[in-house]
């Protein structure tokens, strides 16, 4: 299908590139298990969507491969007043369909991301409005001082105002609507690649945008020199075995999510390279510390998890080294804190675990009044995180060994999340990613008391509530500089002492590719094709 169209487009490309050094086409064919559900940049905030859209759309601020910030569509930004960020825009940028990029597009896009139907609200949660100052200057006015706005704005993609208006797409898709919006299958960004064709679940083809400003900035010799890919063909393959087979047989050049059990086989194949790196995703266990009696336990009349000693006992019971060695096959970073070091606010001294000590665990349970232990059900997903079910099996066995008879309830992600989001659990395992790369996001979503205000405690399904923690989290949202860093450090210390969670590890994610390809590994699990080199 579209063979003719592709050939015609290729011919046009060839004309455009005739004089450039990149006249030779370098195509990379890659795969992952999931296909982006939409091409709308403000509709669904999930990795499978952004992994394609971030090649097409730019934000005001971009990221380097190590996830530090760098200029994107804005060349400078500063907090001119506590509640006002000023962005100076890049001049001479054009959208893929030719519209010139100006302040109006920024105001439009921020307003669009603020719509109730947008799934990107977390990145603009403090924003009151966007104001045009002049053609290339925009002010973002926040309701409260927001020190980490630039971090969040690296995820707010900029669309063309006139294009969106022309195509009736001034707000993200409303689920009540009966008609498909133009943006579900069409794009118009400013990014390094433009969408050439798309067949959902089958094939998505992107072509290099030679006018992109970034090609010049990442000149050869810089830390991450610009890549040489001219065409990206994405073909999702849901079945693990088939995805690996397609890589081995040479039909695919790059796989974002190779299955762990096949990594050794891939490493042994002569022409395949496996690159591993840490992911910003932390697995932990969280307790119901709210109810007076647990839903899924044989303890009547009291909630054992309200007792710090019980939480500590279960922490001591876990042999994390064994989990790392046998279940994760070394591919995890053991942790004692809430988020990995790529996240702003990380403190190494607070990244300390309670040691594995079954004797101490039994003693603590005795002290807490459970000399014979008790029974409880552990809720887990079985297809969401790397080896999630096996991890939970191991933990259930370790807890049972110290007397807490643990039943495992492992389910696919859809029913699992439906269940825990009703607070219908006694203890559960969750893996938490941090798209803003700032501590506040994790603290606010996971540990703040739920009070109905946006973002507060929305993933706190054990309903942990600690007045001191709440105060620290609220301060994190408004403080700046060294004072804020100290607040985060204090919150991390409290997290370690009060054991609201049992942290387990940060996931490592492997990428597999043919050996003639190189691409910097990014901890947000996003492939940045602008830096991919095909030899």
């Amino acid at each position: 299908m579209r063979r003719l169209g592709m050939a015609a487009a290729a011919a046009v490309m060839a004309l455009g590139l005739g004089f450039a050094s990149l006249a030779e086409a370098r195509t990379v064919r890659w795969s992952a298990s999931g296909d982006p559900n939409t091409m709308d940049p403000h509709s669904q905030n999930v990795g499978t969507v952004t992994m394609v859209l971030q090649q097409i759309y730019d934000a005001l601020i971009a990221r380097n491969a190590d996830l530090t910030l760098r200029p994107g569509l804005a060349t400078r930004w500063e907090q001119v007043e506590p509640t006002r960020w000023r962005f100076t825009l890049r001049q001479g940028v054009r959208f893929h369909e030719g519209e010139a990029f100006t302040a109006d597009d920024v105001v439009f896009s921020v307003t669009r991301a603020l719509q109730p139907t947008s799934n990107y609200g977390i990145f603009v949660d403090t924003v009151d409005r966007a104001e045009r100052v002049d053609e290339f200057t925009v002010d973002i006015v926040t309701r409260v001082p927001d020190p980490i706005l630039p971090n969040k704005f690296a995820s707010v993609y900029i669309m063309s105002k006139s294009w969106s208006e022309r195509h009736n797409a001034t707000r993200p898709q409303n689920t009540r609507a009966r008609e498909e919006m133009h943006t579900v299958r069409n794009t118009n960004g400013t990014g390094a690649f433009r969408l050439a064709s798309r067949e959902p679940d089958v094939r998505t083809v992107l072509r290099r945008n030679d006018d992109w400003y970034g090609w010049r900035e990442d000149a050869p010799g810089s830390a991450t020199p610009a890549g040489n890919v001219t065409e990206i063909v994405f073909r999702p393959i849901g079945s693990d075995a088939t995805r690996v087979a397609a890589l081995l047989s040479g039909e695919i050049d790059f796989v974002l999510d190779p299955p762990l059990q096949d990594l050794n086989r891939l490493r042994q194949a002569g022409n395949i390279r496996v690159v591993e790196g840490p992911e910003v995703r932390t697995l932990f266990l969280a307790f119901d510390t709210y109810r007076d009696e647990l839903l899924y336990s044989d303890v009547r009349g009291r909630n054992p998890f309200k007792d710090l000693r019980v939480r500590q006992a279960l922490y001591h019971a876990i042999d994390i080294a064994a989990i790392q060695r046998t279940i994760m096959r070394g591919q995890s970073i053991v942790t004692g804190t809430l988020f990995p070091e790529q996240v702003n606010g990380y403190v190494r001294e607070e990244d300390v675990r309670l040691p594995h000590d079954p004797e101490r665990a039994r003693a603590l349970l005795r002290e807490a009044g459970f000399p014979n232990g008790f029974g409880v059900t552990l809720d887990c997903s079985n297809n969401r995180y790397i080896n999630d079910e096996q991890i939970c099996q191991a933990i259930a066995a370790m807890w049972t060994r110290v007397g807490v008879r643990t039943q495992l309830k492992a389910q696919p992600l859809a029913p699992f999340f439906a269940q825990i989001q009703r607070d219908d659990t006694s203890v559960y395992m969750l893996g938490w990613g941090v798209p803003t790369l700032d501590a506040l996001y994790s603290f606010q979503s996971l540990l703040r008391t739920r009070d109905g205000r946006p973002g507060n405690g929305i993933w706190n399904y054990g309903r942990y509530s600690n007045a001191r923690m709440d105060a620290l989290i609220d301060r994190m949202g408004v403080e700046t500089g060294a004072q804020r860093a100290e607040t985060i450090r204090e919150a991390l210390r409290l997290y370690r002492e009060d054991v609201p969670h049992i942290p387990l590890h940060h996931q490592m994610i492997p990428w597999a590719m043919r050996s003639n390809i190189s691409i910097p590994h990014a901890a947000n699990n996003q492939p940045y094709f602008r830096w991919m080199v095909v030899n």
Binding site: R3, P116, N119, E179, A245, A418, P435
Partner: protein, 326 residues
């Protein structure tokens, strides 16, 4: 005859309604579409608004009633997962599944019938024994394993055939076909063998049993007594009489092939309706699941009706009794 058709269609309606009701009731257990649509970050207000928008706050029978009324008008709503009309999605995927199913059925007939005849005629030859043993594999190996073994052999080791997808397709109106390009045909081979292997062995065993049966009948003996050649006896008389049940079974199995292509489509990332269904289950995409299940129910009802009508056409005894013969 028209009365017969109408009565069958009237009988089909409660079946469809029951399928719709049961599938709808099951959706309560596939998970919460709202949680999946909202992703990691949302506010309670957003969640409430979405639940209201989707009508999920309504009582079960109100939701079901609205679904039935809309379905009767051919309106299945927007997919939660893909934000596109469900009907468009299904129409887009149908050609892939239908081409795969037809190729598989054709392959099953083309190989299964001759093998059945051979094993029926030469019961004791070593080739017959080989075919029969081979057919046991087809019956007993699970589909996904056959698919993976084929991929391993023909894609990874030999590198002859693609391991996934439809290859290049050509658009004829709204229909996309893989039959017209070399790449499309190559991509069809492994999935259609995987999907058709079970049917092939079924047909082979059926033809063999029927042949053995027919060869013992009197009229075959008379035919031989008349001095007809083996060829005329075997193919002119015996085979013709074995084919009636084979056609019936093949027709019924075609429905099964289409409905159960899900596993094959998943293994080969075949962009058909089965793959769409599996992905919709993962995302608790209720509108797509409901529409797909209804469609499959309608398909089975239709195929049953056609088979009944074929009986009418083939078997004169049914017509004499005024359509009440069976």
């Amino acid at each position: 005859m028209p009365a017969f058709i109408i009565s069958r269609i009237l009988q089909a309606l409660p079946v469809m309604l029951a399928v719709a009701l049961i599938s709808f009731a099951m959706f309560a257990y596939v998970g919460d579409p709202v949680a999946i649509m909202l992703g990691q970050d949302y506010t309670q207000a957003q969640r409430d608004a979405l639940v209201r928008d989707l009508g999920l706050d309504q009582p079960f029978f109100v939701q079901f009633g609205r679904f039935v009324v809309n379905a009767l008008q051919g309106e299945f709503g927007l997919s939660y997962r893909l934000s596109r009309p469900v009907l468009d999605l299904i129409v887009e995927r149908a050609p892939a599944t239908l081409e795969l199913a037809l190729t598989a059925a054709f392959l099953a007939l083309l190989v299964g019938v001759p093998m059945g005849i051979y094993t029926g005629l030469y019961r004791n030859s070593w080739l017959s024994r080989f075919f029969l043993t081979f057919s046991l594999i087809g019956v007993s190996l699970p589909t996904f394993l056959i698919g993976i073994l084929l991929i391993l052999t023909f894609s990874v080791w030999l590198g002859w055939l693609p391991s996934f997808g439809r290859g290049e397709t050509v658009r004829l109106g709204w229909w996309s076909t893989g039959y017209l390009t070399w790449g499309g045909i190559k991509a069809l081979i492994l999935p259609s063998i995987t999907l058709g292997l079970f049917q092939m062995t079924l047909i082979m065993r059926l033809v063999r049993a029927e042949m053995l049966e027919v060869l013992r009948t009197d009229y075959i003996k008379f035919a031989r007594a008349r001095g007809l050649t083996n060829r005329a006896v075997h193919f002119g008389h015996a085979l013709k009489n074995t084919l009636v049940p084979v056609i019936t079974i093949t027709g019924l199995q075609l429905g099964a092939i289409i409905a159960f292509a899900i596993v094959t489509e998943t293994v080969f990332q075949w962009p058909g309706m089965g793959l769409l269904f599996i992905q919709s289950v993962g995302a608790a995409d209720i509108p797509v699941m409901a529409a797909y299940l209804l469609l499959i129910a309608a398909l089975f009802v239709t195929i049953n009706l056609i088979v009944d009508l074929l009986y009418f056409a083939v078997d004169p005894r049914l017509r004499i009794g005024g359509g009440k013969g069976h």
